[in-house]
Amino acid sequence: MNRRLETRPGEWIDRDEPLKFSFEGKEYTGFSGDTITSALWASGERILGRSFKYHRPRGILSLSNHDVNILVTDMEDTNIRADVVNVKEGMRLLAVNTSGGVKKDKKRWLDRLSAFMPVGFYYKAFHSPRKLFPFWENVIRKSAGLGEVNFNYPRTIKTKYHEHCDLLIVGAGTAGLSAALHAAKCGIGITLVDENRQAGGSLTYDCAGDQESKTVLRNLLDEIKHHPNITLLTGVYAAGYYTDHYIPLVREDGITNMRAKAVVIATGAYEQPPVFRNNDLPGVMLGTAAQRLIHRYSVRPFDVGVVFTANDQGYRVALDLLEAGVEVAALVDLRKKAASPLADKLLQLNIRILKGYCIYEAIPTGDHEGVKEVVICPFDESSGKPDTGDLVTIACDGIAMCAGWAPAAALLYQAGVSMRYDNTVNQFVPNKLPKGVFAAGKVNGRFDLESRLKDGQRAASEVLSMLSETSIKVVSEPHEGNTPSHTFPFVPHPKAKNFIDFDEDIQLKDFINAAQEGFDNIELMKRFTTVGMGPSQGKHSNMNAIRILAKIRDLPVEKIGSTTARPFFHPTPIGHLAGRTFHPHRLTSLHDWHQTAQADFIAVGAWLRPAYYSIAGLSRDDAIIQEVLSVRQAVGMIDVGTLGKIEVHGPDSALFLERFYTGGFANQKIGSTRYALALDEAGVILDDGIVARLADDLFYLTASTSNSAMVYREMQRWQQKWQLDIGLVNVTGYYGAINVAGVAARKVLSKLCKASLSEQDFSFGSIIETVIAEVPARIIRVGFVSELAYEIHVASQDALTVWVALMEAGEPEKIRPFGVEAQRILRLEMGHSICGHDTDGLTNPLEAGLMFAVKPDKPFFIGQRSLQIIRKAPIRKSLVPFLLDHQDGMETPKECNLVIAQGDIAGRVTSIAFSPTLKQAIGLAYVSPELAIQGGSFLIRTDNGSLVKAIVAQTPFVTSQIGDSKK
């Protein structure tokens, strides 16, 4: 059956571009501009989907992105909203969540069993006996969910823009357009968005059989076009409102995050269905859905229709239906008294108007594919009861439903607007608006064309005065005349199937039962019945749920309140939200060199560092051993440009460091360095590093690679409080750093450096400023990985020059670069712990054996007070060096294996490695105090559960090789 109308002015389809596609294996044609639903409906299809719980047949409800019973898949993408997604040539579509097709869905028997599945039934069964629950759970999981996910769907990259504007108007309907035009006169920058493909809102379809609204629209759009400062974006929805007018605008190909000075919400209202038995049959649709079909897609909603209305909107819909050639068998008006201004027009056309009547039920056709007839009867509005003594049947194949509206107020709720229930429009309207947020049009309770236009201007004038633009104050009068929304459009029926929530198949009685079970406030009711929890988020059900609850509890609607509308306005794709993702990491200026030298990189904090340099023919472990041995036997060097580097200058520099670190710096000599330990207020170790004094008022310090950002942040934070006379400069990126270590380090370095490196002139712990390979440098005598080692700090851009010069100068000594892995072994051989590796979030310096770095009687340092308290209590654990008592076939413990004593946890291994120098496994472990006895032993439990003996040792594990280099 073809339901396509003759070409109509303003239609959204392009008749010159017919399209072929298939649905459920059958071929169809539509036009470019058709949505999947409109094309199928035009072709005479009725069952487009199945409901979620009972698998009832479903057709069009709203045709406005809320028809979540009609989700389809093209096998690429799932849960495609057929009511708004355009059909494309060659699409092969299936309905989701059916078994065996939408018509012959094998699960349709569930509808018959609905009596066994009242509200919340799943809470009351399946759990006992416990053993059977996994079985039932599996059944339930499989029947839940909608579409199947396509695991081959590509990672799409969507654009993300960030923009600003003076005024963002959401909704280009009557009020939005009018607001834009009014505000534009003052020349401010306006962005106007609408989720529909064309602007105009209800002006595009709510015509009441004449041309007035389309003429108004044409004029508005003409004017908009001539305003260069209005940007009109269609096919774009505002997905949510976030603090300070931050609003993501979602397009098909990405998101624009808009920050606006002011926002006008002109999002209109959702039409609400009246509730009667079988109000979900295909062919029963909202009046506005029928209007959309007619005016946008030129599709006849049905041949013979009944309009069921509880407001004046039904009269407008009836006129539109008539104009489209639909036979209107009757207009059933729930209201006995209210007179619609359009009633006369219908009567002149001989349309039967039944006032004070309801549709008692819709009767399905034999194949349950649609409506065969409706049963109507008188309705008593005060008691809310149908008079079933007087049933009349009217044949029809469709019903248009008009019972009222719910404001599309999600963005307002998110903006923190408080709403009040207005008894003239019987709807929630904004009560108090936060600064910069405005509402206009239906969402603000203005329904007539004139008052919507006016309300848009009123909102714009308020925006302008907020933005301090001069403007004439416009006032818009509140609604007058018949209320647009009925207070209780519910027709009870003993056999139920009068649906309130179409997403979740919730019927009128479910609410009554939920209340009986004690879930009688709106939030609990929502959670127990799941009303509004489906993909359309209650756009057509929340308001009715509130009305029912008010009735049940015999309270006014405003006392019931409403549930919170959280983002998103429409479900928003993960790929859109993600946009391009960034995985920032930092590289040192030597990175390319490392790469050429076959380095294998690992991430350390934000940095990529060479783990080791691979050598053809050598395993990873062997390569690392070679690196270690080259330092111990000759010389090696490592890129330590990743260290945090901070300069502190100013008269209070020493004082600042005295407070920040645990040690003493006031009397530190220029040209010397000190080990520095930082604690938090609880006395827990944060980081360690080296502080060098370059002048009275200038210190240069290092922090460990992974903690450097934190250290700098903490320094700044404390400086905010202390307000000392200092400056802090993070020079981490400015300086490169190279550590040359090993017995031959001095020999290599002296070739490039003019300064004397002799033990007297440049002893352990001093810093010199000199020139190396013609590059100015700061060199520190350090001892982390080897007793003899130099840390050379040069400007990043010079690091490569120095590195290459060192490689050349070290050639005779067989100098070798080494990576983080060798560094870890080397420092362990030296007995040094690493912050964050050998300490955790609770370690204090007593436990870590770092009290040598603490000057407890200073006037103040961070963590001092805590440390004083901790020192009074017995120590609970100590970090001790250990050697493994090696036996053949023994499993070597790993880091984080536990120390076990008397069957209980007595500590943990934090570092362990095979020392190539000692040819033995060495490590560090926390043990309880009684085990921390030099020469004593303890047991470590390995992964496989065996206990391995460890002997408490002394550090450094590797003793001096500095002797030979002293020569």
Binding site: Y122, L146, L842, D943
Partner: protein, 413 residues
């Protein structure tokens, strides 16, 4: 079809009585008053009545039952913590949870799915081993697994995470589960109500009255109640209650956010957590992916959502599951997490006699609902905290005896 459902089809009236009804007014006095009708408060009421026969009890909830963090959490239940004390405590909770549907005669959809904490770095692997070792020691089923085991349980995951953060392994925790959060609150409420406990919703506690260092009563929006025992189980509102008594705690409030996708057919059978990517995800029995991330990095007493959160989370989810690009997020929300410095709760007695605290549940308290209810009920009944919660006492902060769970809790929930 279970037989239990037959009664619905064959009775004319809806056969189920009310879970709970509210008395018209407060009594003048109660043996104990519980502030907060979240899971914890209701569970404490239930066990007070059930285990200790104390039923002259009122639960006062300023909003609706379960409307705080109980109804906002992502329901991960697990016991793979880091300290032996923590592991024992949460393990007790897991065991109570396993029997809870039958105990409360309400299907809580307690669903054991297995829990993987993914490690993308060597240092994360170390922490996994640490946790596994402690768990094993206490008798909890956790072990370190490699990428192959992860792929076996979740073949859809991109183990290299788009090359950005390759997964090196994971801590696998077999008992890891999810449940229906609301049902837990309702089940405990019903159980308490049936045993005579009074439950008041829309009833706010304004002040707690003391005399000589002892609790004597409370002022509420429904009037004054005399009582000598008050339990505060208000999670994100804890500082407001402790301020009434001048009790100092180190608790700060930070927002924690979450979101869900539209429902899809089941495909994700396990619970996945990634510390490096700051995300975790499971699929609910409704078919939605329930996803969350780390705490918002600042203090704020608010349940507002941010775009930043969902953008960041989306990127990271796509690192693991690139094919979700066009799956849609339906809803996002936030709760207020009551954070402690050591990521362990604060439970037990306080310097004020008769005032008991159940707080510091941060991002991890849902799983502890049963055990906290049970142990707090015992604490109130005997005026002494059981050994199981000794490590969580408020005085541990003064004593510098923290129970460091940060390594097991950051995104872990």
């Amino acid at each position: 079809m279970p037989l239990r459902l037959l009664k619905y089809a064959f009775s004319k009236e809806h056969p189920d009585p009310a879970f709970f009804t509210q008395p018209d007014s407060l009594k003048h006095s109660y043996d104990a008053v519980i502030i907060g009708g979240g899971g914890h408060g209701l569970a404490a009421a239930y066990y007070l009545a059930k285990d200790h026969g104390i039923t002259n009890v009122a639960v006062l909830e300023k909003g609706y039952l379960g409307g705080g963090n109980t109804g906002r959490n992502t329901t991960i239940v697990r016991s793979n913590y880091l300290t032996p004390e923590g592991v024992k405590f949460y393990d007790t909770s897991v065991r109570l949870f396993q029997e809870l549907s039958e105990d409360l005669n309400l299907n809580l959809f307690y669903s054991t799915r297995g829990h993987f904490t993914l490690a993308h770095t060597e240092s994360a692997m170390r922490t996994m081993r640490w946790r596994a070792e402690v768990n094993k020691h206490v008798g909890v089923e956790s072990y370190v697994v490699g990428p192959d085991d992860i792929l076996k349980a979740c073949p859809q995951i991109d183990i290299s995470c788009g090359g950005n953060a390759p997964i090196l392994g994971a801590l696998y925790h077999a008992p890891g589960s999810i449940a229906r959060h609301d049902a837990v609150a309702w089940g405990y409420a019903r159980g308490a109500y049936q045993r005579g406990v009074d439950i008041f919703q829309s009833t706010e506690v304004w002040d707690i009255k003391t005399s000589g260092g002892k609790v004597v009563g409370l002022n509420t929006s429904r009037g004054f109640i005399a009582t000598n025992k008050v339990l505060s189980a208000v999670a994100g509102f804890t500082p407001r209650i402790t301020d009434m008594l001048g009790i100092r705690t180190p608790i700060v409030i930070q927002p924690l956010q979450a979101c869900v996708t539209e429902p899809m057919k089941p495909w994700l059978d396990t619970i996945l957590v990634s510390g490096s990517l700051h995300v975790y995800v499971s699929q609910s029995s409704r078919g939605e992916l329930v996803m969350g991330a780390s705490l918002d990095p600042y203090e704020l007493h608010s349940t507002r959502s941010t775009l930043d959160f969902v953008e960041g989370l989306s990127g990271h989810i796509l690192d693991m599951f690139p094919f979700l690009s066009n799956v849609k997020v339906v809803r996002q929300w936030a709760g207020m997490a009551d954070m402690t410095p050591d990521f362990a709760p604060i439970m037990g007695k306080t310097p004020i006699e008769g005032f008991y605290l159940d707080a510091g549940w941060g991002t991890w308290g849902f799983k502890a609902t049963p055990v906290s209810g049970k142990t707090m009920a015992e604490t109130i009944a005997k005026d002494q905290a059981p050994e199981l919660i000794h490590s969580f006492r408020l005085s541990r902060f003064e004593d510098y005896e923290l129970t460091g769970e940060k390594g097991a809790a950051s995104v872990g929930h």
